[in-house]
Every structure is written in structure tokens, then in C-alpha cells.
């Protein structure tokens, strides 16, 4: 069989196999059960709590969780602005890179704070090593925050009737120390031996074999790249992100990076099942997500392997596939696969330039972010999926004439309103943003890298990526302007915190309600029939909201090319 396809099957298979035991481990960590890393982390965490004056057993209700979460985020925001706007004159800056302007620092800060990592600068020239290490810090802690929020939801469905949903700091710190850090260390060990740099030296100057003099950027890459993926952050150390030969030197590192970004989103689904003691429900979720994922990924692999028809027409050997923007060591198949993994799970790292994807591959990348719930980001994916579940429960409840119930709790007007607002906020942010950009050509038309339909897709992609907290881009867009920095910054903020606040609120409200034991009249939510219903809700919302915009961009481009 084709070794490129085999590579993809291996990546997917290994991830799935390890996601189940990791899910079990994650469930144990959050339940406070004994795990094999206790001897290492128990003393460290005890010290952290003691010094910080935090009692990890002090349980919070859902509102207290949100206040704690927002407070610490505000603190990080202020620190980040301070660092990024002054790093030019701070230590660890061997290349003498400049500080960021206020609007760029605003955009960078927000984007890393919300786990998006949209980058309007290039790593080689736009940031110092101190700045990179600070961003690495945000990559850890924002993933921890996303996971902590998801655990509040886990907890709400585990207990029969409660207002006490655990301690935010406890969930947050354990996510960082016991899940993100150990996996990152394992990945880093592989990376350094595959030739990924880990040095604080600045750029090197070399004369190449042909006699030209060039520079080579380096840095503490091997510490940055693991958490970039494990935390589904995706921000590149270098401008070219995972396509850069020092950020992704071999097919092996590509497989490991793929595994790194895929494993936690998948494991969180199983962790949910173990934690609430409903494994069958987790398999229902996993099934829906996997069907959705494959429906996007398989066409992309196929289209990228078939290559650009306009180049085939020129009469050359196009059998390698659409190689514009792709690397030989990775190949078209692994690049097409990555393009969907990174967009469904909100990583936003890239190993090929999405701007040069085939038109309908670009559409699938967009759709993956528009839906944003097939596996989804570390923690955030489950939260988004919960919204679709609530909608599906309500609609199927109406269809069969039963009171909508989920996990023994009645779904009533308040929860439905929140779910609707969150479900509509996502298309609202994307479409209004894009419409605004299209209506203000004086700010945007000069920033587009490609004419016609594809230029529109570049704008649509930028807002979709922002709202989904993804961070990848159609990178031809010249996005370091005040207009793009500020407008995407606002979309980023709302696109992160609304989908955290909404689901946590729903879970909190449901947890307070009286528990109704299952009876013959209960709608079963762990069956494939219900899975189909959830899938239909997702498809209908995505299709209705986004089809017109997609028709103007990638679909129109497709018909102009084929």
C-alpha cells in the first residue's frame, strides 16, 4: 500500500489506541484518585497551594469558577502586554528583535490568551526568546484553563444534585502539572534527538555550498513545539510553523506532533465517559465526532494528492500532488490530513500553507472550524459539543413528545436560551466580521494576497480562525494592520469566553436541579439514533449559517478552476 496513506493510518490508529488509557488517567486525575505520578507531583502541588494560599478542597459553584477563571486571565493579559511591548530591551534577545506595537501586542496577547495563537508577526523577526518563553507559558496555562472549564461540566454531570463543582485552581494546576507537562516532556525528548534546536544562541550566518551567504534562525524550539501541540495552541516558533524544517524536521517528528495535538482532545471524550461513569455515552460522542472528522479529512487527503488541475494541464508530472506550499519530507497526503486535524481541534498549527490548498480543501478547513466540535480543542471541544447535545435533546424531545431531559436533568427555557445564544454567536462573529471587512475595502483590499473569490476566502478564513480560536490562517493575508489586529482581537475574545461561560453556566444550572431517575419515558442519549440526531443538528446549523459565505469563496473558486 502507498506509504503516505499508511503513515496517516498509523497516526490515527496510534492516537486512538492511546486515547482510551489516557482518558482513564485524566478521569482519575480530576476525580482525585491515585495515579502513578503522585510521588512526583503531590509535593509540588502541595507547595504551590501552600504558598498561594489556596485550599484545593474548597469547592466552588459555577459562578465562582467563572470569576476565578476570568480574574487570572485578566492578570495574564496585563503581564503579557507589558512583556511584549518591552521585550526589545529585555534579556534573552540575541537577535535584537524589536518590541511589538500596542495593537500588535494586543492581538498577540489576546490570541495566545484565548488558546488561539493567531500570529500577526513572524517568530524569526517579531519576538525575542523571552517573548517566546512567555508565549510558551500562555500555551500551557490557557490549555489548563480550557480543561478546567471542561471538568466543571464533567463534575456537574457526575453528581446527582449539587451546587459544589470542585475547585478551579485545583483543576487548572492538575491539568498543567499532571497532563500537559509530562506529555510535553516525552515529546521534547523525541524532538531534540531528531534535530530540533534547543539553544539560546541567536541567528547563525553561513555561506552555503554555492557561495551565497544566508542566516539561519534558531532558538529554544524543542521546548516550545511540544506544548504548542499538546495544548492545541498551534502558534509557531518560526513563521512557517510546522512546515519549517527546524520546527518539524522529519516524518517522525510530523507523526509525533500530529499525535501530540490529537491525543488530548480525543482522550477528553473518553475521560468524560469514565468520569461520569457512562462509557457508552462517550462512545456515542466519539462516533459522531469521528464520522464528522473523516467526512472532512478523507476528501482533503484525496484532493491534495490529486494535485492542482491547472498544473496537470500544463503537461508535467503532477503525481506528487498539490506541492505548492508543501514539504517533500511530509508529502501531500500527510499535509491534507494535518490540515483537517489542526482545524477540527483548534490547534491551528500548519505543516503546509492552507492558502495554497485546493479550493474545496480550503472549504473543509473552514467547515472544520465553523463546526469546531469534532473533538475540538483541549477542553473547549467538549464544551462546544455540549451545546449541540442540548439542542439535539430539545429538538428530539419535541419530535417524540417527551420532556427534554439530559443525564437525569430537565432542559428548560433558561438553558435553551443560553445554548441558542452560544450556537448563534459563532456564526454571528464570523459572518459579521467578514461582512465588515468586505464592506471596508480601504482597510482590507490591499492586504489580500490573491484576487477574486480566493481573496474573499482569505478574509472569511481569518475571522473563522479567530472565532474558533484556531489560529491557522490563509497566511497570504497581510494581517499586521491596525484594522486586522483590533477586529480579530475582539472576535478572539468573544469567541473564547462566550463558549466557556455558556456551557459552564448550563452545566451549573442543570447540576442544581432535581435528579430524575431514568424511566421508560426517558429519551436515551447514548444510542446511535441520538448520535445521528446530534450530527443532523450540527450539519443543519453549519449548512444554514455558512453555506452562502462558502458559496462566495471556495465553492465559486472551485467552479472557476475545474
Amino acid at each position: 500500500m502507498n506509504t503516505e496513506i499508511l503513515g496517516i493510518i498509523a497516526m490515527f490508529g496510534v492516537t486512538l489506541l492511546l486515547a482510551i488509557p489516557l482518558g482513564k488517567y485524566i478521569a482519575k486525575v480530576y476525580a482525585g484518585e491515585r495515579t502513578f505520578l503522585d510521588p512526583v507531583f503531590n509535593p509540588i502541588e502541595r507547595l504551590f497551594y501552600k504558598v498561594s494560599g489556596i485550599n484545593p478542597d474548597n469547592e466552588m459553584n459555577w459562578k465562582q469558577h467563572l470569576v476565578a477563571l476570568l480574574t487570572i486571565n485578566l492578570l495574564w493579559f496585563l503581564m503579557s502586554m507589558g512583556i511584549l511591548m518591552n521585550m526589545g530591551s529585555l534579556p534573552l534577545n540575541p537577535d535584537g528583535n524589536p518590541s511589538q506595537s500596542a495593537d500588535l501586542a494586543f492581538n498577540t496577547t489576546i490570541s495566545f490568551l484565548v488558546n488561539c495563537n493567531l500570529q500577526h508577526y513572524s517568530g524569526e523577526t517579531g519576538i525575542s526568546y523571552l517573548g517566546q518563553i512567555w508565549l510558551m507559558f500562555l500555551q500551557f496555562v490557557t490549555a489548563g484553563v480550557g480543561m478546567a472549564a471542561a471538568v466543571v461540566v464533567f463534575k456537574a454531570f457526575r453528581e446527582k444534585s449539587t451546587t459544589q463543582l470542585g475547585n478551579f485552581y485545583n483543576y487548572f494546576l492538575k491539568s498543567c502539572t499532571r497532563i500537559l507537562l509530562p506529555i510535553s516532556l516525552v515529546l521534547a525528548a523525541i524532538f531534540v534527538f531528531e534535530g530540533m534546536p534547543m539553544t539560546f544562541d541567536g541567528k547563525d550566518t553561513i555561506t552555503n555550498l554555492q557561495g551565497d551567504t544566508v542566516q539561519v534562525s534558531r532558538g529554544p524550539v524543542a521546548a516550545f513545539v511540544p506544548i504548542k501541540h499538546v495544548g492545541t495552541n498551534g502558534g509557531g516558533f518560526f513563521g512557517a510553523n510546522g512546515a519549517h524544517p527546524l520546527e518539524n524536521p522529519s516524518y517522525l517528528t510530523n507523526m509525533v506532533e500530529m499525535f501530540g495535538q490529537f491525543i488530548i482532545p480525543m482522550a477528553m471524550v473518553f475521560a468524560f465517559g469514565f468520569f461520569i461513569r457512562r462509557r457508552k455515552f462517550a462512545w456515542m460522542m466519539y462516533g459522531v465526532m469521528t464520522v464528522g472528522f473523516l467526512l472532512l479529512a478523507i476528501p482533503n487527503i484525496n484532493m491534495e494528492m490529486n494535485g492542482n488541475p491547472a498544473i496537470t494541464q500544463m503537461g508535467i508530472d503532477n503525481s506528487l500532488g498539490a506541492m505548492e506550499g508543501k514539504e517533500i519530507r511530509l508529502g501531500a497526503a500527510a499535509s491534507g490530513f494535518w490540515s483537517i486535524v489542526t482545524t477540527v481541534i483548534s490547534t491551528g498549527s500548519i505543516n503546509s500553507m492552507h492558502d495554497s490548498s485546493m479550493p474545496l480543501s480550503g472549504m473543509n478547513e473552514l467547515l472544520a472550524m465553523m463546526i469546531n466540535a469534532f473533538y475540538g480543542g483541549a477542553g473547549a471541544g467538549i464544551l462546544n459539543f455540549l451545546i449541540f447535545i442540548i439542542l439535539a435533546v430539545f429538538i428530539s424531545g419535541l419530535m417524540v413528545g417527551r420532556t427534554p431531559e439530559f443525564m437525569g436533568k430537565k432542559i428548560e427555557a433558561r438553558e435553551m436560551k443560553i445554548a441558542m445564544i452560544i450556537a448563534l454567536a459563532h456564526p454571528f462573529l464570523i459572518l459579521v466580521g467578514t461582512a465588515l471587512a468586505a464592506a471596508l475595502p480601504q482597510y482590507t483590499s490591499a492586504t489580500l494576497a490573491n484576487p477574486g473569490f480566493h481573496g474573499f476566502s482569505e478574509m472569511l478564513y481569518e475571522y473563522t480562525s479567530s472565532a474558533a480560536n484556531n489560529g491557522s490562517g490563509f497566511e497570504g493575508l497581510g494581517d499586521n494592520t491596525v484594522f486586522w489586529n483590533i477586529s480579530t482581537g475582539i472576535v478572539l475574545l468573544l469567541g473564547r469566553f462566550l463558549p466557556i461561560i455558556g456551557p459552564v453556566a448550563i452545566a451549573g444550572l442543570l447540576a442544581e436541579k432535581k435528579f430524575i431517575p431514568e424511566s421508560a419515558g426517558t429519551l436515551k442519549t447514548d444510542t446511535s439514533t441520538f448520535g445521528l440526531m446530534v450530527f443532523a443538528v450540527i450539519a443543519i446549523i453549519a449548512a444554514l449559517a455558512f453555506f452562502p459565505a462558502l458559496a462566495l469563496g471556495p465553492i465559486a473558486e472551485y467552479f472557476s478552476l475545474y
Binding site: F48, V51, G195, A222, G239, I311, S352, S356, G476
Partner: protein
């Protein structure tokens, strides 16, 4: 909110100690056992040092050419062309690359040119070309250097890197290593 501020600050400071100082130091420590102590894999040739993973520009006819690059193989930066598949200007550029290649490689049919030689990579620093991309340049190099084509094909075979574990991913050739071996042939 007030009662969360102080714990948030203290927790942040401690997390910085763990994640921004201890963690990178551990990784840096591991890197000291890695090739070139974590400063990037290098190749030395005639007393000069090159980065094995960072592609170099090869445009002279006596060398195997690298792929086109959006950053001219200057690794001070990185990036792709970001041209859309449907962009007319871009397609003209590809056509021009094909024409240039045919001028420099007489006797080669258009259908033998693999797509990687006329498209820019994602990083602009791609160190590799496909096996076909090397083979299609053999005729030109054999003529200029006066080496038998068979010897060059053998060199290509020796420098072809198989898929990972023989199972996963594409075959490829490191252009820099191939050209160094080519210089050593004489």
C-alpha cells in the same frame, strides 16, 4: 473577584518557575546529549558547516537544483508563496519555471518534470526534492561534469532516503547531501 487576585498572582509566579524555567532547562539538558548539543544537525564539508535540515539554494547548472522558494532559502525568515491554486499570475509563474527548466535541460520531455521542481515549498527552506526531481536533472549534470549518467543514477539511489521504518511517508533526497556527494565524485 478581589479575593482571587492574590492567589492568582502567587499561582502565576510559581507556574512561571515550573513551566518557564524548570521545564525548558530539562529540555535543554536533554538536548546536550543530542546531535550538535541542540544547535541543529550539521554537516561539515571542506571545513565549512551547513545545517542538514535547512535547504540551500542551488541554481547553478552543475548542481542538482532545489525547489523554488518564496524566501530564497534565507533562513533568517521562512514562508510559502501563499498563492491560490486558481491565481492566474501564479499559474503563469509556474509555466515560466517549466519553460526555464526545459531550456536548461535539453532532451527532457515536459511530462518528466515532477511538480516539486516548479512549486515553492511551505517553509521556503525545503531541504529535499523527490527522487524523480533528481533523476530528471541527471542528463544536464552528466553533460556538464562529464560523468556517466549511470554513475549519477547510482549516486541518487545511494542518497535516496526510504520512508520511515520502510513503511510511513514519502521517499526523498536531501539536495545538500546529494550535491556534496556529487562534488566528491571527481
Amino acid at each position: 473577584m478581589k479575593k482571587h487576585i492574590l492567589p492568582a498572582i502567587k499561582l502565576t509566579v510559581l507556574s512561571i518557575l515550573l513551566l518557564c524555567i524548570a521545564y525548558p532547562l530539562i529540555v535543554w539538558g536533554m538536548a546536550q546529549f543530542a546531535p550538535n548539543k541542540g544547535k541543529g544537525k550539521i554537516i561539515t564539508h571542506n571545513g565549512k558547516t551547513y545545517y542538514a535540515n535547512v535547504g540551500q539554494s542551488f541554481t547553478e547548472d552543475k548542481y542538482f537544483w532545489s525547489r523554488p522558494s518564496a524566501v530564497d532559502y534565507n533562513a533568517a525568515g521562512s514562508g510559502g508563496s501563499n498563492k491560490a491554486a486558481s491565481n492566474k499570475e501564479y499559474l503563469q509563474q509556474v509555466q515560466a519555471r517549466i519553460d526555464t527548466f526545459l531550456v536548461h535541460n535539453p532532451g527532457i520531455a515536459k511530462s518528466e518534470i515532477p511538480v516539486d521542481l516548479v512549486t515553492a515549498s511551505g517553509s521556503g527552506l525545503d531541504p529535499n526534492i523527490s527522487v524523480q526531481a533528481a533523476k530528471v536533472q541527471v542528463k544536464r549534470i552528466a553533460k556538464i561534469r562529464g560523468i556517466a549518467e549511470g554513475n549519477l543514477l547510482q549516486l541518487i539511489l545511494a542518497k535516496t532516503e526510504k520512508p520511515l521504518f520502510g513503511l510511513f511517508g514519502p521517499e526523498k533526497i536531501n539536495v545538500l547531501e546529494l550535491n556534496i556527494a556529487l562534488d566528491n565524485l571527481k
